[in-house]
Structures are given as structure tokens and as C-alpha cells.
Amino acid sequence: MTVTKDHIGGLVFLCFSVVYGYYANQITLFPGDEYEPFHAKYLPLSLAILGILFSVCQLVTASKSSKDRLSLTGYDFVLVAKLLVLMVLFAISLEWLGFMVSTALFLSGGYWLLGERRPKILFLASVPFAVGFWFVLTQLLEIYLAPGRFFMTFIGS
């Protein structure tokens, strides 16, 4: 049997709908709510049933053509993973290093990961941009951006 994208999608959505339905059942209602015509569990349970129904239909009617097989060759997953990690690091550094430093690091890291190696470009396309953007936000639009815990703890401002 050929396992196609349709099969994988249907199966994943079926599992998700079952788990979603299980947690829908775990929603705690106020006493007596279960006798009301509509309560907090109503829509989630209905959606879980619909999800299961559609995914079963998808599995039954799925394409069996070998053209529709999921092919992951030629995709650069490693680079995407690195970019996603960089985004998570940006989120962490925003709290610790503040907006300006984090932005400069994130941008230069992004350029580096995507193949830019010229130090001049890495610097010019990140630091002036980060400073300029920070200036627009804090000075022109008067948005308060916390300086970052690191600077607060060690430098005191």
C-alpha cells in the first residue's frame, strides 16, 4: 500500500481530534451546567466528532497515487531548525539583553545562517538597523522597552 500525504494528514488529524476530544471531556463544568442546552463542553465535543469524521473520510478517500507520496528530499531542514532556534534564542535574549542588543544579534545571526559572511554587511545591516528601530520605537512612538535583566542586574539601568 502506498502511504501518501493524504494518509499522513488524515491520520495525524484523526489522532489530534481524538486527543482534543479527550481533553474536551476533561473540561470542568459548573454544577448543573450539564443540563443546560449549551455549555462549555458543547462546541469542543462537537468539533472533536467532526474532526474524527472528516479525518476518517480523508483516510478512506485518500489518493493512492505514488505522485502524492511525501518526499522530504531536497529540503534544508537543518537550516530551518537553526533559524527556529535563533528565534527562540531571540525571545530569551529579549528578556535578558533588551531589545536593541537582541535585535542586532538576531539579525546578524540570521544573515550569518543564510550564508552572508562579509563582516561589514553583517555589521551594517544589523547594528544601525537595530539602533534606528529602537530609536523610532522608544523616542518617536514613546513605547517603553525594558532594558533587559542583565543590564538591570549588573549595570543598574
Binding site: K5, D6, I8, G9, V12, F13, S17, Y20, Y23, I27, T28, L29, F30, D33, E36, P37, F38, H39, A40, Y42, L43, P44, L47, L50, G51, F54, C57, Q58, T61, L70, L72, G74, Y75, D76, L79, V80, L83, L84, M87, V88, F90, A91, I92, L94, E95, T103, F106, L107, G109, G110, Y111, L114, G115, E116, I121, A125, F129, L137, L141, I143
Partner: protein, 518 residues
């Protein structure tokens, strides 16, 4: 109506709002030009900026971005055969061959004139159709609204691509599921929060829109290795003249008129949108053409370029009809706008016409201004704007990532949202690899809350009975349309499967005979 129109005109001609239209058109043109980033991503990227503006200015900016993005998409289709968005794919069929014949200037000008006419005709029809429909829909009750939401959600499936019906329905349900995360507004009970305080308010619309459109598109670009491709080389000196001769104008005028009206009508249908309008109008024009004309289609036919361009702009305007009058988005882009309007505290629907006439009319009038801006300012500047296409991808991609992340962060100032974006981007990328469409999910997410409220009201009023679905003739009519919208593609799909199976059997029969003989 006249008072409202005047108030809308006064709002739209305010210097700040005119500036918003111009900025929107420019920003939209630039973002729309970048292959992969269409109007949805362009508007998603603009939403954080509009949060600081009043609702009228915000929605005017977004309408400008919408038009600009479609125009920008056409530009990259014509110049480098890389459509910026799905609705301009057809533009490349005849636009790019024209550019290869050193007539890129003429193609760009024709695209701009067609878009302008399509948008103008669309805006004029909208001017009269929207208030009329809004007046009718004032008598709607919760059961009618519930039925309308169901129609809006099922219509998306009806207009989804071949073999995509079930996937679109699954994504709609997925969107509705995501909408249930957070405190239930009616009972105050937390759902799917897993004791995480960050999930108490649910998942933000902006976060979801950014992650599933802007970020996922960028991730897909990197995944496919497209960032390594060399920037397109454009010879700006060989654009050629931007003038059209009298004969050429006469030749394409009927096409533009036909396609504009047709595009508007397709755009009004919930779920159809500009992409379907452009494909259908191209097909229609090809069928109407003489044998000699037909042979020119795909090789640089002016009619083949004018038809999709006028239809997609008219359809973009048409898709505002269900949004402004019924509160149902007609396309993925208007779904994003609906989310933004809700975030402003404005509920689109029949009451918008009564409660916020300034927003209602200023959007309609600014659409017209948007068309004028595109024609007068963008067209002469196209040779210069398109130079932005040569910004190296390794520089552009981190910047788009940064704007997407910061856009969400600057609204909530919560770094949990960035982590959530990463998770949603991973899920959305996986779903994209499996050919699942994203727009139905966003539509389901946005309509989820309103759907639940109206279902709750209807069920409470009818004491838990589903009789409300057929007791009112209006509700029943809308539900019949919803069921038809759901069943028709299913029947078509089953019919095709049966035909395919028959064809497969016919080809396999000799093989079976051979097996038996063995």
C-alpha cells in the same frame, strides 16, 4: 445613506488617511512583489502598525496594502515570471511573454489600467450593493447568523482546489478548535489552557496570522533552498514604452468591462476570492476569443493579461461585501481584516453600517483612492520600486522574520508569544508540506467565537432543539446553501474518483488476464 457617504468621504480625505492609503499602496506593492508573500502576509505584517491608529485609518491602510500587494504580485509576475500571490499566477501566463518580447512597460501599464478599471467598477458596485445588503441583514437573528457562519465556513471548502475539499474542511475544524483555547467567554470556564496563564486569553489572532502566513512562507522559502537563488536580473532599460495605442485600448476595453463585473460577482461569493476570479475570467475570455485570438493566449495576448488583472481587483473589492455587511470574510485576506476589526472593538456585520458609518464608508471610498494611487503614483515608480526585488535574500529573510516576531511582541510584550509562534510555524510548515491550505484555518479561528455565541443563543432560545435551523425560512435557505456548498464538491470528488477507478480497471484488465493465465 448620503450623510454616511459624506462622513466617509470626510474621513477618507483627511490628510493622514490619504497618507495611509499611499503608504499602504507602496508597502503592499513592495511586499506583494516578493515571491511567496501575498496580500495575506502583507496585511499580517501591517497589523501591528495599525494597532496604534484609529479604526478608520487602520482599515484604510490595510485596504491600501491589499490593493498594493495584488498590484505588486502582478509586477513580479510580468517582470520575472514569479507571481507574488496566487491571484496573479494567471497574470504571468501572458504578462511574462510580453516582457520577453521587450514589451514589459506595455504589460505593466495594461495591468495597472485593468486593475484600476476593475477596482473602480468594483468600488462603484460596492457603493450601492453593500448598504442595500446591510439593510436587509439588519433583520437577521442569531439563528441566521449561525447559518451564515456555517455557510461561510463550508463555502471555503466548496471553492478549494481539486482534491482539497476534505483538507479545507479539516483545516476549518482545526481553526475552530484553536479558537476554543482560553477562557470560555460565556461561562468563564478555562478550556485547553493546561494551567498555563499565558493561554488564559487564548491564542492571539495576530500571532496565528503571522505564524501561519508570514513566517511559514519564509520558512518554506528557506526549506526549498530558494534563498540561495540569485536575485532576479532585470533590465530596466528594456521595459519599453508604457503607452497603449488607441486600437489596443479598443481591443481590451470590452474584456476589462466583462471581467470587472464577473470578478466582482465571484468576489462576493464567500470563500471564492481573487484567485478563482482571475482563473475563471481568463478561461471565460479564452472561450470568447476567436480561433486566431485563442492561439495567442499564453504567448502575450493583451486580452489574456487584461482579463485576470481586472477580475482579481474587482473580486478583491467584491470580497468586502460579505465582510462589511454580514461579518463573513469572503477570502483569507478579508478574514485577516475581520480579525483586525474585531481587535479594534468593531464587529463587522449589518450593525457596522449603522454604528460605525465612518468606518464603513471611509473603507469603501478609500478603496477608490487606493486605485487612483496605484495608477498615478505606483505605475510611474514601478521601475524604481522593482529594484527592491534585488535585495539579497540572506538579508531580506531575517528582516521579514524580525518584523513578524516584533509585530507580535510589541502588542503583548510577552516572549511566550514568540515561542508560541515558533511552535505554530513548525505545525503550519508540516501541514503545508502535506498540502493543507492555511486560509480555512484562519477563517475557522476568526469565526469560531461568533459561531459559538450564536449557536449558544439559538440553542438556548429553542430550549436545546435544533429546530431553529429550519423554523425560520431565512435560516433554512442559508442552511440549504451551506449544505449544497458542502455536498457539491463532495459529489464532484466522488464522481471523479469513480471515473478514475473505471479508467484504472480498464487499463488493468489485460494485466489481470495475464496473471490468470500464469
Amino acid at each position: 445613506m448620503f450623510d454616511g457617504m459624506m462622513s466617509g468621504l470626510t474621513t477618507a480625505v483627511m490628510p493622514f488617511n490619504l497618507m495611509m492609503v499611499i503608504i499602504g499602496c507602496f508597502a503592499g506593492t513592495f511586499i506583494g512583489m516578493l515571491p511567496g508573500l501575498g496580500p495575506i502576509s502583507a496585511i499580517a505584517l501591517m497589523i501591528p502598525i495599525t494597532y496604534g491608529l484609529d479604526p478608520s485609518s487602520g482599515i484604510i491602510l490595510m485596504a491600501g496594502v491589499y490593493y498594493g500587494a495584488i498590484f505588486g504580485g502582478s509586477t513580479s509576475s510580468i517582470l520575472i515570471n514569479a507571481p507574488g500571490c496566487a491571484s496573479t499566477v494567471v497574470t504571468a501566463f501572458d504578462g511574462y511573454p510580453l516582457a520577453q518580447k521587450k514589451q514589459a512597460g506595455k504589460a505593466l501599464a495594461l495591468a495597472a489600467y485593468s486593475s484600476f478599471t476593475g477596482g473602480t467598477i468594483g468600488a462603484l458596485v460596492l457603493l450601492f450593493a453593500a448598504p442595500a445588503l446591510a439593510k436587509v441583514s439588519l433583520s437577521f437573528q442569531s439563528s441566521d447568523y449561525f447559518a451564515l457562519m456555517v455557510l461561510g465556513l463550508t463555502a471555503v471548502a466548496a471553492f478549494s482546489g481539486k482534491g482539497q475539499v476534505l483538507k479545507a474542511l479539516m483545516m476549518t475544524v482545526f481553526g475552530l478548535m484553536i479558537a476554543t483555547v482560553g477562557i470560555d467567554v460565556m461561562s468563564g470556564i478555562p478550556r485547553y489552557t493546561f494551567d498555563n496563564v499565558n493561554l488564559i486569553d487564548g491564542i492571539s489572532f495576530l500571532l496565528l496570522a503571522m505564524a501561519t502566513f508570514a513566517l511559514t512562507e519564509v520558512v518554506m522559502t528557506v526549506l526549498r533552498g530558494e534563498h540561495k537563488q540569485k536575485e532576479p536580473q532585470m533590465d530596466m532599460d528594456s521595459l519599453g514604452s508604457m503607452k497603449l495605442s488607441k486600437e489596443e485600448v479598443k481591443h481590451v476595453a470590452p474584456t476589462i468591462g466583462r471581467s470587472s463585473f464577473f470578478g466582482f460577482l465571484v468576489g462576493v461569493l464567500p470563500g471564492a476570492g481573487a484567485t478563482i476570479a482571475s482563473f475563471l475570467s481568463y478561461g471565460m475570455e479564452r472561450n470568447l476569443a476567436s480561433k486566431d485570438e485563442k492561439a495567442k493566449f499564453g504567448k502575450g495576448a493583451l486580452r489574456g493579461l487584461a482579463a485576470p488583472e481586472s477580475a482579481n481587483n474587482a473580486a478583491s473589492t467584491g470580497s468586502f461585501v460579505p465582510l462589511l455587511t454580514l461579518g463573513i470574510p469572503g477570502s483569507g485576506t478579508t478574514a485577516i481584516m475581520l480579525g483586525a476589526l474585531i481587535a479594534y472593538g468593531i464587529q463587522p456585520g449589518p450593525r457596522l453600517f449603522v454604528d460605525h458609518p465612518d468606518v464603513f464608508w471611509s473603507v469603501i471610498i478609500s478603496m477608490y483612492f487606493g486605485n487612483i494611487v496605484l495608477l498615478i503614483l505606483n505605475l510611474p515608480l514601478i521601475p524604481y520600486i522593482s529594484r527592491l526585488l534585488v535585495i539579497p535574500r540572506p538579508i531580506l529573510i531575517p528582516l521579514i522574520l524580525f518584523f513578524s516576531i516584533t509585530g507580535v511582541y510589541l502588542v503583548s510584550f510577552n516572549t511566550f508569544d514568540i515561542q508560541m509562534m515558533v511552535i505554530i510555524t513548525v505545525i503550519a510548515t508540516f501541514l503545508k508540506l502535506l498540502n493543507f491550505p492555511m486560509a480555512p484555518m484562519l477563517l475557522g479561528f476568526i469565526l469560531g467565537d461568533i459561531l459559538e455565541k450564536n449557536l449558544s443563543r439559538s440553542l438556548t432560545l429553542s430550549d436545546g432543539s435544533f429546530a431553529f435551523l429550519w423554523e425560520r425560512p431565512l435560516t433554512l435557505t442559508i442552511m440549504i446553501f451551506a449544505v449544497l456548498a458542502l455536498m457539491l464538491p463532495m459529489f464532484t470528488m466522488l464522481k471523479e474518483k469513480r471515473q478514475q477507478a473505471k479508467a484504472a480497471c480498464a487499463t488493468e484488465e489485460p494485466q489481470d488476464d495475464l496473471d490468470v493465465s500464469k
